[in-house]
Amino acid sequence: MKQVELSKQPAAGDPSQPPAAGTATPIVEMTDISIAFSGVPALSQVSLRLFPGEVHALMGENGAGKSTMIKALTGVYAIDSGRVALDGAERHFHSPADSQAAGISTVYQEVNLCTNLTVAENMMLGREPRRFGGIDRRAMNQQAREILERLGLDVNPSSPLGAHPIAIQQLVAIARAVSVDARVLILDEPTSSLDADEVEKLFDVMRTLRAHGVAIVFVSHFLDQVFQISDRMTVLRNGKLVGEVMTQETSQLDVVKMMIGRELEVLEKLERESSGETGRGSADQPLLKVLGLGRKGSLEAVDLDLYEGEVIGLAGLLGSGRTELARLLFGADAADRGELAVRAETTRLRTPRHAIKRKIAFASENRRAEGVFDDLTVADNMLLALQAARGWLRPIPIGMRNRIVKEYVEALDIRPPDPNVPMRNLSGGNQQKVLLARWLITQPEILILDEPTRGIDVGAKAQIQQLVADLSRRGLAVVFISAELEEVLRLSDRLVVMRDRRKIDERPNDDVKVSDVLEIIAGAQSSEEAGHA
């Protein structure tokens, strides 16, 4: 059955009329799915129904179990318990090939096609039309063209895929996915590298497919997009099902609450600790001044002033642009627009070295991949940034080295206190302290901390929070990023809220409540929203 009328719905804002759940039968029905990885449950009793001609958004924070659910459906992971039914009949998919044969296609976040092959070759890969034992190129290009036209895409099938922008490549990936008579199409973060126009193009294709009765699973961190395109959503949290709702009948705030999952009243009790004097904006000149800083595909232009002794809290959901902003401020990624001035001196931060020279330090959220040197000792890990700044010809004298290491091991209570053990032996919290020490040793004036307390135990977390407060009291300017809003509110003097890769709000932290921030994130009240709209 097709929901043809759906495609006639206007594109913007209001979601299309979804079919009533009672009348339609779902194509896919996953019931009480549970999966555990080496004893740790990743999903417990989660259900998901996919209806024909519907865009179904799978919602949840990172680690909520969205990808696990998708992989359970596509046969990547084996299911411990539960039932997967296709058209009412129970099915067992043992591999992605199994599920694909049953009409379930997946397009992942990263385009995994071959950029050196043509568009048509990519689309028909593995099922090329044959003629005299060879590939019939004409037939192949013709078939590809028909599929592309059906999706309303104007792409030359014989052009190399790599010649097209990522957005088109993504659409080609989708064209490939649906060309195998897909009845279910799973799109995992398809819009993360697309700009607004490109997203619109993708949505057009999605609407066309929906009109043809395809059931689409849409996973995205962008709330606006989810509300724009989806008909129904399933919200997960910590591997459990929070609920299934019709998009039309819910609000962004409700969904954010479902995703984050704590009762707001409880959160409001966690009042901000009085962190002594706040808002030391007495200095007339900002330490760091940012005007329109941005980078294509990662962050829209952001303005920001940072003063001595001030903690700015960056709040926002994952993928909202908080990490992207931090990386631009440190030169980890180079900005392609906007200006940045340190102590009123305009500068470009093309590499981290430039930033370090200007006394900026950055502790990445990705400790393992971007911070820790497993095989080096704790002492070497600690001194690396300072040593790199000095250059290899000027090793840190042994006396100075011992003094610094001893000082920071004690000050940050690093355990074990032996600086000569390899870094890999330390717990996450202690590794994080070593990384903080690495940057404090360089005596920065601006400290950017991206998720410094993620995944570490409560004791270390409190110590790090205390440290940040102490540092700002001593005049350091701190940019503090955390997914835990309580923590952001407790520490920051000023609050910047990010959403959909741009700054949507900035306000002094005068008794701001978690619920206020959630509302800003959900778009209910934001001072800058009006200006952008």
């Binding site: 440190f330 980890a332 590499t351 981290p352 070295r353 370090i356 950055f362 990445s364 991949a369 971007e370 911070g371 820790v372 040197f373 497993d374 095989d375 080096l376 070497d380 690396l384 940034a385 040593q387 790199a388 700044a389 000095r390 250059g391 290899w392 010809l393 000027r394 090793p395 840190i396 690495r438």
Partner: protein
């Protein structure tokens, strides 16, 4: 809590060098069984002779090349062009000497060496440029010079085997200082110097950092490009020295055969010495033992009378065995395999 100092045995068995050293010792024992006078050293006219001295001297070129290779591998790279660079260095020096007005003078020999080293710096800069600036994968980037370099050496020697008559130059390979062959002292000296530079400056640390985690190094402000460039230049210099030694040994520059396959022996020496091809922590001492092992193995094959037909096969098997025995995982498996039958025997 009083710190318990681990016993000597524990510390030795925990050292990563225990397996390479053990392998060398095992080979020596095999040789002693075949020839009981294997370890004898004679002093003739103030010069030492003997199997051990020969092994050390013959392993000198591989050790030189392997020192540079160790640092390159520590940055997650590899340098396949060292054999070709050795050939070029030999060719440059020998052609310079034959063309010089005073062919057998000391000055000529010294100038020839310096000229060859200067050429090596350029070659190293080229490799470093391909890897660190253009971002070409090291195995491909150095493959360029590995194949092209022989051609360059060929052009320099006009495709002739250039023989020289300069005893001062030949001294690099044949000379004796303090009763020991100069080649051994040169290799040992460079080994010590490399260790000194790597560990007394911060170069070693930064090399390891780049090799262990390139992205974290970048974010910590390490100038990875300079570091990578430095190690390739150093590797080329080491290869050049080896090239001088090889050509001095035969008093001739042969573009085709000088330093042929030495890159493989050097890589092998590094790996046997315990430096991982995945980059990171490196051990120059391990590399030295690795080079000695390779040469001892070559000597052993002839000493115990293995037919030349089986020479390479035998070498391959021994190398695989040594590599396996170094891997804790493989050792555990092996021990497991040996244990199971014993247990069954007890229960039966």
């Amino acid at each position: 809590m009083p710190e318990q100092r681990p016993s000597l045995v524990r510390r030795i068995s925990a050292s990563p060098l225990v397996w390479p050293v053990g392998s060398v010792l095992a080979l020596i024992v095999i040789n002693l069984i075949a020839h009981s006078d294997f370890l004898n050293v004679r002093l003739v006219h103030g010069q030492m002779y003997g199997n051990v001295i020969d092994i050390a001297r013959n392993s000198a070129p591989v050790l030189l090349v392997a020192l540079g290779m160790t640092l390159v591998i520590a940055t997650r790279g590899i340098d396949l062009s060292v054999g070709a660079i050795a050939a070029i260095a030999g060719a440059v020096a020998c052609v310079f000497i034959t063309d010089a007005p005073a062919q057998s003078a000391v000055g000529t020999a010294i100038e020839a060496c310096f000229l060859a080293m200067a050429v090596c710096v350029v070659l190293g800069l080229w490799n470093g440029f391909l890897v660190s600036v253009l971002g070409i994968q090291p195995i491909i980037a150095t493959l360029v010079l590995m194949t092209g370099g022989r051609g360059v050496a060929m052009l320099i020697t006009s495709a002739q085997i250039t023989t020289i008559h300069n005893s001062n130059y030949e001294f690099i390979s044949d000379g004796f200082v303090f009763t020991l062959p100069f080649a051994i002292l040169l290799a040992l000296g460079l080994w010590a110097l490399t260790g000194l530079i790597a560990r007394r400056t911060a170069l070693g640390l930064l090399i390891e950092a780049v090799g262990i985690n390139p992205e974290a190094s970048r974010l910590a402000g390490v100038r990875a490009r300079t570091i990578i460039w430095t190690v390739y230049v150093f590797s080329a210099l080491c290869a050049g020295l080896a090239g001088l030694m090889i050509s001095a040994n035969t008093a001739a520059a042969d573009a085709n055969s000088n330093g042929l396959w030495i890159e493989l022996d050097a890589i092998l020496a590094v790996v046997i010495g315990g430096t991982s091809l995945a980059g990171g922590r490196f051990s120059l001492t391990g590399t030295m033992i690795g080079a000695l092992f390779i040469q001892t193995l070559k000597t052993t094959i002839t000493a115990i009378g293995i037919s030349p037909d089986y020479n390479y096969l035998f070498k391959a098997i021994v190398v695989i065995a040594v590599c396996l025995v170094q891997s804790p995982k493989a050792r555990a498996r092996l021990v497991g395999l040996l244990r199971i039958p014993r247990k069954q025997a007890v229960t039966a």
